[in-house]
Amino acid sequence: METSNFEIVAREDFSDVTYLLEVRHPLMAKAAKPGQFVIVMLNEHGERIPLTIADFDQKKGTITLVIQAVGKTTKQMQQECRVGTRLYGMVGPMGIPSPVSHAKKVVCVGGGLGVAPIFPQARGFKEAGAYVIAILGFRNKDLVFWEDKFRACCDELILCTNDGSAGMKGMITDGIKVALAGHSDIDEVVAIGPPVMMKACADATRAAKIKTMVSVNPIMVDGTGMCGGCRVKVGDQVKFACVDGPDFDGHLVDFDDLMLRLSRYTKVEKEAHERWSESCRMTKQVGPSALDALGLSKKGRAAQSELLELPDPFEDAPGG
């Protein structure tokens, strides 16, 4: 059996906040299915963060993660995860794979951090013979990524940006309206993104009674059904996203409850983040070369300090 040491074999920066890591793990690449996630630990002192698998390549034996630098850990990963370095741990694939149904016409919606993980689903549906319409939402054209990848596997692509700098101007929900207007025979909508966006999607399809699956991303510790931190209300039941999900019927998920529970550690996380960025600034004063050695451009650094004022990561996601 091939064991992995979680080596990072490729990295791509889509924007100042979004980056892609390809981690070598042949066994996981073989096992992964659309909709599953991993839990990553950056170092021995790190926290366990759940990340949806954005892609997997059995031939190369790699798992692709697309990450938004929004908190302490994801920003530290942005600084430290270079090709050739290693993660301390990565476990998965976790969760029940998304059922790629026999739907004939499917809309795959991805917003913000959900654009990457919706890709394997779109590809899965296409391979199952469905007519796939992808709707992708970004804040502006600088943040757009993987447009070509989606075009290659989807029959239609609706690109939405908040400022109209690429594709149509508007929220993801406007994109859904366009899709619904153009097609009366949509069997299923799959939406991944920030909770506010998924909530808006579920609301947009509720009247037409179109089956809408969402992939929730609550706070987790172990990811194996042991801590119960990731519990979500689905209809009148309480489910654990890590082992009962992460996909649930969007019309039944209590998004307000989900968003409230996501804010549990906001205060302490902000403190940890401030402390960490403070120590980074000090490094910068002591010796800027240290950061250059990490490969951070001047532009990158400037953008990062702006980011410190970023409020809740989910607030400025499209569709919200």
């Binding site: 002192h45 998965g92 510790v221 990811g223 042991m226 801590c227 119960g228």
Partner: protein, 499 residues
Amino acid sequence: MAKKKTIRSIPQERTPMREQDPQTRAKNFEEVACGYSLEDAARESERCLMCPDEPCISGCPVGIDIPGFIQKINEKNFRGAYDILTDTNLLPSICGRVCPQENQCEGVCTVGDSLEAVAIGRLERFVGDTAIKEGWVNIPYIEPNRFKVGIVGSGPAGMACAADMAKAGCDVTVYEAFHQPGGVLKYGIPDFRLPNEVIDAEINNLKKFGVKFECNTLVGRLFTIEQMIDEMGFNAVFVGVGAGYPTMLNIPGDSLNGVLSANEMLTRCNLMRGRDFPNFDTPQPIGKRVAVVGAGNTAMDATRVSLRLGSEKVYCVYRRSRTEAPARAEEVHHAEQEGVEFHWLTAPVAVLDDGKGNVRGMRCVRMELGEPDDSGRRRPVPVAGSEFDFEADLIIYAIGTNANPIMGQTSKLKLNKWGYIGADDKLATSVAGVFAGGDIVTGAATVIEAMGAGRRAARSMKAYLGIRDAGLPYIGGDGAGTLFGIDTRERNFARVRVA
């Protein structure tokens, strides 16, 4: 030959174990009980009558030769005591600390009929700790065979099973989903009861036996049990994944921020070192006023961890009375000493909201004990009109766990109606070559029971593989006389030798 001991000739009082002062220890994560000194151990060993019927051995789930090792302590032959202990129990330092001895060996001790029972657990711990300090490892002569054995879960059941299979000569790999091995010993039981160094020492011993540990591996999802047998070349697999799917109360307010399972709270603190936040990245919820629901060992751990994290007030709320509390008596006593406030016969009705989605308190109702229920304990019945509210900003549920669903989702293993893995009295599951034991078969139980199950499964696995060793009586002709359709006598071929 020494004069025969009688109940009157032995030291009457049980030798006390030095403990950290309650006020001091409630603020640190150092071990509460400091262990026996050499003199303490020698004195306590005097108290064993060496009675001929040895009830303690049958009281021990793994059948340790208790009078045997106590005799060696008495002779000041500690290495000898360690050798006897490790014949049956490879993890004496762990068991000496976490076994509920009062319900097991000490509960049936002859001395205990008239005086306090011999402190078997403390003596066991003394021997185990001495071995760690001295660096003793008992590596038996292992004759390798051609069998590959996979163990799923590195908790107490998996560790015990791994040890026995490695001793029998198998190539053993233990898979663990977390980034560190140890299972509930690491994530659940806090340092002041069972220090991480002790667990690591015992795990290192297993490594010296040739046991391999693979962390970050979620069996079922990364590969399935069936794949282990069919593709990965494992001749037998033991599943000991535990039952840690926490139960919530299902009362109004369950999902408010500030309500969490004891599992989450303890995992953050113990394994993820949330108590050292922000030096470690995992945040730790810390309440000013904490209410822990339940009165098992996990509940006691949660209350005492809360105190150490700096909570001002810690309540323990339990719907039955102290007599029915499932926790070890010593744990309840320790918690009480440290300042935990117990509310017996009190059941939560609702968690109260502060209007912003956070916990502000809990509504409870007083209970009284009625007729005995199925478990033989008197059933608590609410007292009408006795509802009352109290303030709390963190509520921890320690009310038990259910079966983890991953094995059921990903394998053909037959489950029972509660979702636990179905296993026969030899701990064989419905899939040939796959055995299971511990909490995932019985539901939440104790560390030593899980270890006992791991060892029983190992015995069955050896029989299944046709490995015969001294400890294995010839199994055959047990009624049916067949194992998976093959005559058992036929499968018990002579031990396979590797050239």
